[in-house]
């Protein structure tokens, strides 16, 4: 691990080291978004290190908790089968970092709908994130939808949320109407969690 110089750029040589450095960064009062993003991007994905968390579901993408950051952040791995995608959602006033570990994910950014909006939501931009790239979003930037648009390859992504949250709003693209949903973990620390899903998840 390189010692930080004036711009504090860390390098994580393994997933374990990434978690260690994250704990250290989040122990401080202030955390820099650029620092975390650079750290996440510096980790070169090695499937041997995260395969135990990569538990796929036939029907939809899964959220697999890796580390709960002493309450300061949640680090999790999301597994996307072919064609799996999320709804348009916000991030409950938290920071969200998303790094691709395998495959590709398409991120589409949306404007927040008008207060009494009743029309199609406005797309801001879209991009395809490649392996090892790390994206960042928070509610002031906008809303997004994340999808694995490949029909032949699965995708795996590493997400960091700070502060942790377990519910968010999903949005109907056609009308801008929002609905609060609870988010659940498919597995935690590599163990499948068999609590019955509170509600089935939609991804409109």
């Amino acid at each position: 691990m390189e010692q930080p110089v004036q711009t504090e750029m860390w390098k994580a040589g393994s997933l374990e080291e990434l978690v260690r450095i994250l704990h250290r960064l989040f122990a401080e009062d202030k955390v820099s978004v650029e620092e975390v993003q650079a750290l996440m991007e510096s980790y070169e994905s090695n499937p041997d290190e995260w395969l135990q968390y990569a538990q796929f579901d036939q029907y939809r993408y899964t959220r697999n908790l890796v580390d709960n950051g002493n309450g300061k952040f949640n680090l999790m791995i999301l597994c996307w089968g072919e064609g799996h995608g999320s709804s348009i959602h916000d991030h409950t006033d938290s920071h969200c970092f998303m790094k691709i570990l395998q495959g590709n994910l398409k991120e589409t950014l949306f404007e927040w709908p008008e207060k009494k909006g009743n029309g199609e939501m406005t797309k801001k931009s879209e991009r395809v994130l490649r392996e090892n790239q790390c994206a960042y979003i928070n509610d002031s930037i906008g809303l997004h939808r994340v999808e694995n648009i490949s029909h032949t390859e699965t995708a795996v992504s590493l997400h960091l949320y700070s502060p942790p949250f377990d519910s968010c709003n999903t949005f109907d693209q056609r009308t801008g109407h929002k609905h609060k949903v609870k988010m659940t973990f498919y597995s935690q620390f590599g163990e499948r969690t068999h609590c019955a899903m509170a509600m089935p998840q939609e991804n409109n």
């Binding site: 029907y59 064609g83 709804s87 490949s150 029909h151 032949t152 056609r174 509600m199 998840q201 409109n204």
Partner: protein, 369 residues
Amino acid sequence: MAAAGGAAAEPQLEPPRRGPAEGEEAAAAELAAELAARRSAEARRLVLSPRRLWGPLPAGLSQWFPALEVLDVSGTGLAELGEELLALPRLHTLLAKNNRLGGPGSLPKALGQAPLSRSLRVLNLSGNRFAELPPALLGLRGLQSLSLGGNRLHGIPPDIQELRSLEFLYLGGNFITSIPPELANLPSLSSLVLCDNKIQSIPPQLAQLHSLRSLSLHNNLLTYLPREILNLVHLEELSLRGNPLVVRFVRDLTYNPPSLQELAGRTIKTRNVPYAPSDLPENLVRYLSLASNCPNPKCGGVYFDSCVRQIKFVDFCGKYRIPLMHYLCSPECSSPCSSASQSSTSQSESDSEDEASVAARRMQKVLLG
């Protein structure tokens, strides 16, 4: 190099570089030599690392790996799988994605008669060039999972119903324009992926897929769904984004007055006029069997061909509005809940307590999470 083993794949070596003139024959011969050298009577899994092949799989494969259960030839450029496949008696998983399969003879014709027609459970042919579902694979009676994602399919053959054991069917990323009602005759189907196609309508018979848990329809050309979709009680996942679903209330009053045959048929059905198949010509017996019930619960009527289309929005508490297509037997036969929609621009009709809104609340659970 080929990796063989019962557990996780061993590290795979890249084949040595070849000049462009050497061609696929040499690659095939090299593969045969490698596999012969790595033969194993116990190995259950064989993965070919990405390389350039034409195919078929080398004769002798079944002798070098008689216990083979999983074969992964993805990303090898194979244009045909070959007869040797038929000699693998224990194969339950065949992964052949991202190849050049799709021409005639890609799959051996006798697939349905081979031992693997009973053993094969998983077949992945995604990322190939199939323009039609290869008929040879319809004989795979034990097949549970089939993927033809990212091919060039323009349709689905009605004979797909022969894949009686199918639980998972992935057809996303093709050019499919319509769905045959026979697809509904797959009793175990729990996951159906039809995203990224050109589908304009869903046949109402799909509601007969009682086991369906996941239905992926995003990025198609759907303007509405059949109201029968509310009957899919086990549905947990439904994706509809990227369809031109009608948002504003639409009332289509196009109505062709019924023919005499239609009126006679309706009378027979609603008055329960008894008849035996010997009483009528076969075509009329068949006609009478096609009667549909008017969904208006206050109407006991039936219709044959002559009906009014009406797009009705099932209002999930004003959040999601899925346009559902209703067929009513006549313009006068309106459901109770559509009376509020006489003001045609109103977007906040409230549901009355009819069968449609009970089912709609169930659907709300599916869509809202």
